[in-house]
């Protein structure tokens, strides 16, 4: 199913933005890069241990970032309240990460080092991340492994009892620590257990099945959140001295993604509307090896480890619309397009390149499977070469998973794969101290605009979430609290009452529309639009089209959505409706950001800007900056630019030929 470039609707609304007159100060410490974090730590103001329990910190999210931050802050003696929408903090989406976590331990003596991890991450992110942050991340990666091992995370071991590692995501060194195919689960359980220990100790109060619906900002500082108890429907406020958002990514804006169904942008979007800048919203990552759609009832996409590409060969029929089953298509009529286009890397070409190549052949009508949205990943040669047993040993569990979902036996017929949205590099803008543009509002994990620039390397998100939560936020939040002179506020404060009222009104409004279409219908329509025009490849007319369509669809949503039930009970449709409403707003900003970034970089691929071989072509002259957007209730979003300076790693073009 090729996507035609749409003719823009007759009246193109001006997709405009304004330049904000703020200067974003990332507060990067001076001095050589290896000393910056040490210097920052030394210069931080400390809260005396006896005073800590007087401060209340609200941590929203219990994923790797949130759970580790809440646990550590609790251990330090702060009074912490932690929130998640699932029924238990252990179920946060981090649980689903499979592959592994990077750390520059150099246990293999293969030339790895903090500096190399730093270098790889900057380069992998296509030079759109902040050097100082990335260096600190690489530095802390080492401590993360120590911490997790001490907690009892059962990382893979060698027979001698030492930790095993593997190489991942095209890295040339073996620095990825893993726990079978469930690394995220095991790391999260470690953090969850640490969190539970603090709950038992009374330092952390946990609020599961509680969704944050708004942020309370008083006198310019983040002082609380408004939540809805998902069981009773009660809307109430929680006040504190600082708010930490670790609410994960917004990949679900595409409806179909590898994210959990509940992943949402509500927390960060509401914070954005209260004044937090949103950085690089258009940097979204597509993963090349997911199980394709099987029908329009599809509710999510399942990721399969990229390691499959080590032995599988990717191909499509040469003939568009070839109706034959794969095994009947002769060698000569198959197009092994990755091997053809990228002879050196072949089937192992990086995520973004492999994803785009798949889209391209499907756009040409050569895709396979339902709707023509899929390409073959064929193991028959590998099976011939290595035998079924070896393949079973290497990929048995993945093959089983594939068979469970599709009902097809990948030992006999080639797998079908297709790219899917997987990760969002964009998020709330934070300074070196992970504080957003609202004082007292900190952001960690996938929710911040992160250290991954325009493209995240495999096994680096887990690392970043835990670095933020265990080692950075607990110090920087304290540093803020030690200096902030915060007046006492209580629940009767007019701002608190006003924000609560707004939340109540929004819920009421959603429930009263009582239209004809379901929330999912709207979400699907939005997702389709985003995937088609703001997905793997973007171009100006497409983005303009999306920018015209999104508000239209949003209007329809507010006119015609049906949310059954009441607000005073468990109401899953209401939960979804609120999240989709926020996705609609974020979608527009995402498209606008993609339109404004008139270059290709990492995962942001503008068709207008590619090299002859179809690779992303950056424009460092014009776009070596972080795009931080401010909400503007009265007009178009306001853009602030944080220039990126590369002192250590010279700007260079990626090449994977």
């Amino acid at each position: 199913m090729a996507i035609e470039t749409p003719t823009p609707p007759a009246r193109v609304p001006p997709a405009e933005w304004e330049l904000a007159d703020v200067v974003l100060d990332a507060k990067i410490p001076s001095g050589p890069i290896e000393r910056k974090w040490e210097k920052a730590k030394f210069e931080m103001k400390l809260v005396s241990p006896a005073n800590r329990r007087r401060f209340t910190i609200l941590v929203v999210g219990s994923g790797l970032a949130g759970a580790s931050a809440a646990a550590t802050l609790g251990e330090m003696g702060y009074h912490v309240k932690c929130f998640c929408y699932q029924d238990s903090p252990r179920r946060a989406h981090s649980i689903a990460a499979q592959g592994g976590i990077n750390a520059a331990k150099n246990y293999r003596n293969d030339g790895d080092s903090v500096y190399r991890l730093f270098y790889d991450t900057i380069k992998g992110g296509d030079f759109r991340s902040r050097e100082a942050n990335v260096y600190r991340l690489a530095e802390l990666s080492v401590n993360i492994i120590d911490q997790c091992v001490a907690q009892g995370v059962p990382f893979a071991r060698e027979y001698g009892g030492l930790l095993d590692t593997r190489s991942f995501g095209g890295a040339l060194v073996s620095r990825t620590f893993y726990a079978r195919g469930q690394t995220g689960q095991q790391l999260l359980l470690g953090a969850y257990q640490a969190l539970c220990r603090q709950i038992q100790a009374g330092t952390v109060q946990m609020f599961p099945r509680t969704e944050m619906l708004d942020l309370i900002v008083i006198d310019g500082a983040a002082r609380g959140i408004v939540t809805r108890d998902l069981v009773t429907g009660e809307v109430r406020s929680h006040l504190g001295d600082a708010v930490v958002l670790c609410t994960g990514g917004y990949g679900n804006i595409f409806y179909l993604s590898t994210n959990a169904k509940g992943c949402n942008a509500t927390a960060i979007w509401r914070a954005h509307r209260r004044g937090a800048a949103f950085a690089n919203p258009c940097f979204t990552q597509i993963h090349p090896t997911c199980i394709p759609l099987s029908g329009d009832y599809q509710s999510k996409l399942t990721l399969m480890s990229e390691s499959l590409r080590n032995d599988g060969r990717v191909w499509v029929p040469k003939q568009p619309g070839d109706p034959r089953p794969p095994n009947e298509i002769p060698e000569a009529e198959r197009d092994y397009y990755l091997e053809r286009k990228y002879p050196t890397y072949g089937n192992l070409a990086p995520r973004d390149i492999a994803s785009r190549a798949a889209k391209q052949v499907c756009d040409e009508g050569r895709g396979v499977g339902p709707g023509g949205l899929g390409v073959y990943l064929d193991f028959s040669d590998a099976i011939k070469r290595l035998g079924v047993e070896r393949i079973r040993e290497r990929y048995g569990n993945l093959f089983d998973m594939y068979e469970r979902i599709t009902g097809e036996d990948p030992y006999k017929v080639p797998m079908r794969i297709y790219p899917a949205v997987h990760y969002t590099m964009g998020g709330l803008w934070v300074d070196y101290y992970l504080m957003s543009t609202i004082p007292g509002l900190f952001v960690g994990g996938e929710a911040n605009f992160s250290d991954h620039g325009a493209n995240r390397l495999g096994a680096s998100a887990l690392m970043q979430g835990l670095a933020d939560g265990y080692f950075i936020l607990p110090l920087t939040v304290g540093n803020y609290l030690a200096q902030a002179k915060l007046p006492k506020v209580d629940l009767d404060h007019p701002v608190v009452r006003a924000v609560e009222g707004e939340v109540q009104a929004r819920i009421k409004r959603l429930l009263e529309i009582n239209g004809r279409r379901t929330v999912d219908e709207f979400h699907r329509a939005l997702g389709r639009l985003m995937w088609d025009y703001c997905g793997m490849a973007r171009n100006e007319p497409g983005l303009r089209y999306a920018l015209a369509k999104i508000p239209e669809l949003r209007e329809e949503f507010w006119q015609d959505v049906r949310v059954p039930g009441s607000g005073a009970e468990l109401n899953q449709e209401l939960e979804k409706a609120g999240r989709v409403a926020d996705f609609f707003e974020l979608a527009e900003l995402l498209a606008l950001d993609a339109l404004h970034r008139d270059e290709s970089c990492g995962c942001h691929f503008r068709e207008e800007h590619q090299t002859e071989d179809g690779e992303a072509k950056r424009d460092d002259e014009r776009f070596a900056y972080v795009a931080a957007w401010f909400w503007n209730a009265a007009g178009p979003p306001r853009l602030a630019k944080e220039p990126l300076v590369f002192e250590y790693i010279p700007l260079a073009q990626r090449s994977y030929k």
Binding site: I95, D146, G152
Partner: protein, 250 residues
């Protein structure tokens, strides 16, 4: 495909519940079980009825959120598979499917198929951790763990906390869940210092929550989507007995 679904509907924790029969004519064999329910819910909403509430999140079989008893078996007929990973091709056209929530006093129903499993969190909080503050960890490579121990710990650590073991157990016992965590941590060198206190505390909390006792029926193991082994229960028993003989108290 056409199916007859008998689904437990209960508007709230204290409201009485009952089975409601739905005819579902729109089932595709490639759908997952939850997608089948999604489609039904869409129809219900359009008809102005209340959709069926059920827990789910990752839909990949790892978060442990999905939870329903399908034709008398938690997570349904396919072994080692969560509800979200169960596909409709395992059913036949015309099948009658009964769908119920987890049933246990310690897991009260919140609405329809949604139950409250916070008892599990409290069991973990009672001792299912290794006490190490952030920053206090020694160098990772200084702790050697024989591969067999690591593998055993991992097998137990694979538990997703879904509660199917409780739902399946004729006594509504939480032994497999509790034992999985005990076995995970007590199999590792890092877990040794708190080994006995951990088991005593976790078992005490498990008792408090109102679960039944373990008679070694083995239903839990058979229903567990992660195939957690009964060996973990034997290990819990051993460690608890040893703790008692040592006089370790909660």
């Amino acid at each position: 495909m056409r199916l007859i679904l008998k689904i437990w509907r209960q508007p709230g924790p204290d409201a009485p519940g009952r089975f409601v029969t739905y005819e579902h004519n729109d089932v595709n064999p490639h759908m997952s079980f939850l997608e089948m329910l999604d489609v039904l819910n869409q129809q219900l909403i359009r008809k102005g009825e209340d959709p069926i509430a059920f827990d789910h999140d990752c839909r990949e079989g790892i978060c442990g959120m999905c939870s329903m008893v399908i034709n008398g078996v938690p997570h349904g007929p396919q072994r080692a598979t969560t509800t979200c990973q169960l596909h409709m091709r395992h059913f036949k056209d015309g099948d009658v499917i009964t769908i119920e929530p987890w049933r246990a006093r310690a897991f009260p129903v919140i609405k329809d198929l949604v139950v409250d499993r916070s008892a599990f969190d409290r069991i973990i909080a009672a001792g299912g951790y290794i006490s190490v503050n952030t920053g206090a960890a020694p160098e990772a490579a200084s702790i050697l763990v024989p591969k067999t121990d690591a593998d055993r710990a991992f097998d137990a650590a694979a538990c997703i906390g879904c509660g199917a073991c409780v739902a399946a157990c004729p006594n509504a016992s939480a032994m497999l869940f509790t034992a999985a965590k005990v076995a995970h941590l007590n199999s590792l060198p890092q877990g040794q210092p708190e080994r006995y206190q951990r088991v005593v505390r976790m078992v005490a909390q498990m008792e408090k929550e109102g679960f039944g006792h373990c008679t070694n029926h083995g239903e839990c193991e058979a229903a567990c989507p992660k195939e957690i082994s009964l060996d973990t229960i034997a290990q819990l028993n051993r460690d608890l007995l040893a703790a008692a003989l040592k006089g370790v108290r909660a």
